[in-house]
Symmetry: C2
Subunit: 424 residues, 2 copies
């Protein structure tokens, strides 16, 4: 089935001027312009199919990720797609452990984001060639093949290849029923596009109205909808997080998200230990940079909700390992989404997680933000506050060419105008 | 004293083709070309002084760091140097927490390396204006001023500003004697330029001869000189590290360096717990990306030797916080050096550490590698296997313009020739 040799890799810097509307603003990121390094790969096969991959950025620095994609491109060019996916673990490691580029990480920061963008494009292409959406490609894949996509380096003290295989084989039981359930009902979502720090009171009121119209999950009254989760965006040190959340416990939040540095495993463990008795869970993950961090957060009982990100970890390959570790520790995965395309991508992972790994919806939901979907060729479908499984082949990563052209930085029309206005 | 407004920031991509000789090759980095992103800042002051800063890289990807330096440059340009050093904590945080660039880290990977290069240039310029080598600038600095350079965010559960001040004030006692001792005897060094993985047997023999001629520290017989430390370069998973080192314990290594992923705090703790009873310490740090990681390694008793790196952490500002935390836990600091300029820079930190913080040489030494010093204007001075305190003003970061020109990538003479040869 898999065919063609990668003949071209193109990467573009696409930015949406969201800071003008205060969208996405939080305590640590005051003025994000939601952006993406957008990778397109082509093959010499006659089918004309292309693979599209993104990693999410906040504006400035997208050009740095673009530069890193170009530095990694030689690992992809002139490779047969069948050789890549036939030894996907090896290919992952080649990208993530390039003998010279590795020093700039390893497996973190700009180079890892670039790795994610490239691998996302490879998965999109693979799924398109198979004629399936990525979630379905994963659900139908033999457990041994799935396991062969994962680099177990640095996690075998918690998850070996054998452990992974066992989990996936158990996940085969009831798989068909869960797939039907997903197709009928979708995966539960929750929205966070309601309370960005930069929003005015008027905007907040509009948001409340919108929520009342369509976004109330039946089990959540409005006051809880706002209060159920709190997000600190890494603002606190460990003692502050414990102190503040102890005071806020009376509002019964389900979780406190990103209470401190995403690198602070022991800090999250201390916070969890203090807050779990108060009924508050700790959630983190959107800025946790690789599987080694998630492994430790699980080992240290440092979180109660695990928030994977489809564009920060090394694509599906690394996310698979995190989903499996979360299953082993029985910690619910509640993905981070929003930004540019994060909803489009992560829905595939969480639907696969339910069907083939977790087999549970308890305490689980996937973030949803209603921004920028209009720029995607296959935007997410939300029905009754649930992500409906995508039906188009691929990873839902392809953007509309018109949108890309207009928002390319700095020479797209949108930016030409904004930059000219800034100069005046 | 401090004067001028930063009027220009220039960054260059300088690479030495060390992979041709196998220098620096190890289990994870087979073919490094020792390189640097080299930052030069100028002011509008009439003294004509410039600040030079580097971060170390391994060849490919230096252009990505250069790109990140340019993305950060607007934080530096048109700032008064006195405003920068007058609120150095604020300036550090501005660079490390740029609302848009932060997403690409935070405080890790390419953007943090770029931050280090810029801050290193600022420290070089400051010390030059004061007419002192950096170590002396630090030693003479009032403890309150030193503390004002440190961003304590995310480490106050281990080290508060008050703790830091107390340590530094205690360090004033006996300072003058220790400074005299350093000036007379220098700081103990050990060399690792003897056993790169890519070296032939002949090269190894030459190295042994060289070592016998000048590098024998009196207390170390030759067989121990080779055996005293082992370096795994992150090759192992946690169970492998314990298994291999238990077998190698009979050789009585002082430490095992980088036994596994630099992100794996709990893994290092497990390894330490298994090896310390066998008389083997764990050393790590050259790829630990920020103070939050070092904080946890100390909290978890995960290392017995702490290896700071002058170009990976956020320059002197962040290294100060790590030196102080190490002092609090009484863990010896044995810096990583080698590469391009790492010896030149880190000698300032470790000499300051001895005079003003640790006040001890027990179990302490600083790595030394005899490569590429000839390209620096103020190269390290080694006498009797010790780093002699630099006397020239600045951070010893300035390279010879002729070397930079020749090794600039890809248009310096050295690379023009090599790249042309590759094409033939």
């Amino acid at each position: 089935m898999v065919r063609g040799r990668i003949s071209r890799l193109l990467v573009r810097d696409v930015r949406f001027p969201t800071s003008l509307g205060g969208h996405g603003s939080d305590a640590m990121h005051a003025d994000p312009d939601y952006s993406a390094a957008y990778v397109v790969i082509e093959t010499d096969a006659e089918d004309g199919l292309k693979g599209y991959g993104i990693t999410f950025t906040l504006g400035k620095g997208t050009e740095v990720v673009v530069c890193a994609v170009n530095a990694l491109a030689h690992h992809v060019l002139n490779k047969d797609l069948k050789d890549i996916v036939g030894d996907f673990r090896g290919f992952y490691r080649q990208l993530a452990s390039d003998g010279q580029l590795r020093w700039l990480g390893p497996e973190k920061g700009v180079v890892h984001l670039a790795t994610a963008a490239i691998l996302n494009a490879v998965w999109d292409l693979w799924a398109k060639q198979e004629g399936k959406p990525v979630w379905k490609l994963l659900v139908d894949m033999d457990p041994r093949m799935l396991v062969s996509c994962i680099d177990f380096r640095y996690i075998t003290d918690v998850l070996t290849e054998e452990d992974a295989l066992e989990i996936l084989q158990k996940g085969q039981v009831g798989k068909r029923e869960r797939e039907e359930q997903m197709l009928a009902q979708g995966y539960p979502a929750y929205t966070t596009s309601c309370a960005w720090l930069g929003y005015s009171d008027d905007t907040l009121k509009q948001v409340v109205t919108a929520l009342q119209q369509g976004w109330l999950r039946a089990d959540l009254p409005v006051k809880n909808l706002f209060l159920q989760m709190m997000d600190a965006n890494q603002r606190w040190d460990v003692p502050e997080a414990v102190e503040w959340m102890s005071k806020l416990a009376k509002f019964k939040p389900l979780w406190i998200e990103e209470p401190t540095s995403p690198d602070d495993i022991l800090g999250h463990a201390t916070i969890s230990k203090a807050l779990v008795p108060l009924g508050i869970g700790v959630a983190t993950g959107e800025q946790c940079h690789n599987r080694v961090i998630f492994k430790q957060l699980l080992q240290a009982k440092a979180l109660q909700f695990l928030q994977i990100d489809s564009c920060r970890l090394g694509s599906i390959n690394e996310n698979l390992s995190v989903l499996l570790m979360a299953k082993k520790f029985e910690i619910p995965v509640c993905p981070h989404a929003g930004g540019v395309g994060l909803c489009e991508l992560v829905q595939h992972l969480i639907i696969f997680d339910y069907i083939s790994v977790s087999a549970s919806l308890k305490n689980r939901m996937c973030e949803y933000v209603d921004h920028l979907h209009e720029h995607f060729k296959y935007p997410v479908m939300i029905q009754q506050a649930s992500y409906m499984p995508p039906k188009d082949a691929g990873y839902s990563t392809e953007m509309k060419e018109e949108s890309v052209k207009k928002h390319q930085y700095p020479d797209g029309d949108v930016w030409k105008k904004l930059l000219a206005a800034q100069e005046n």
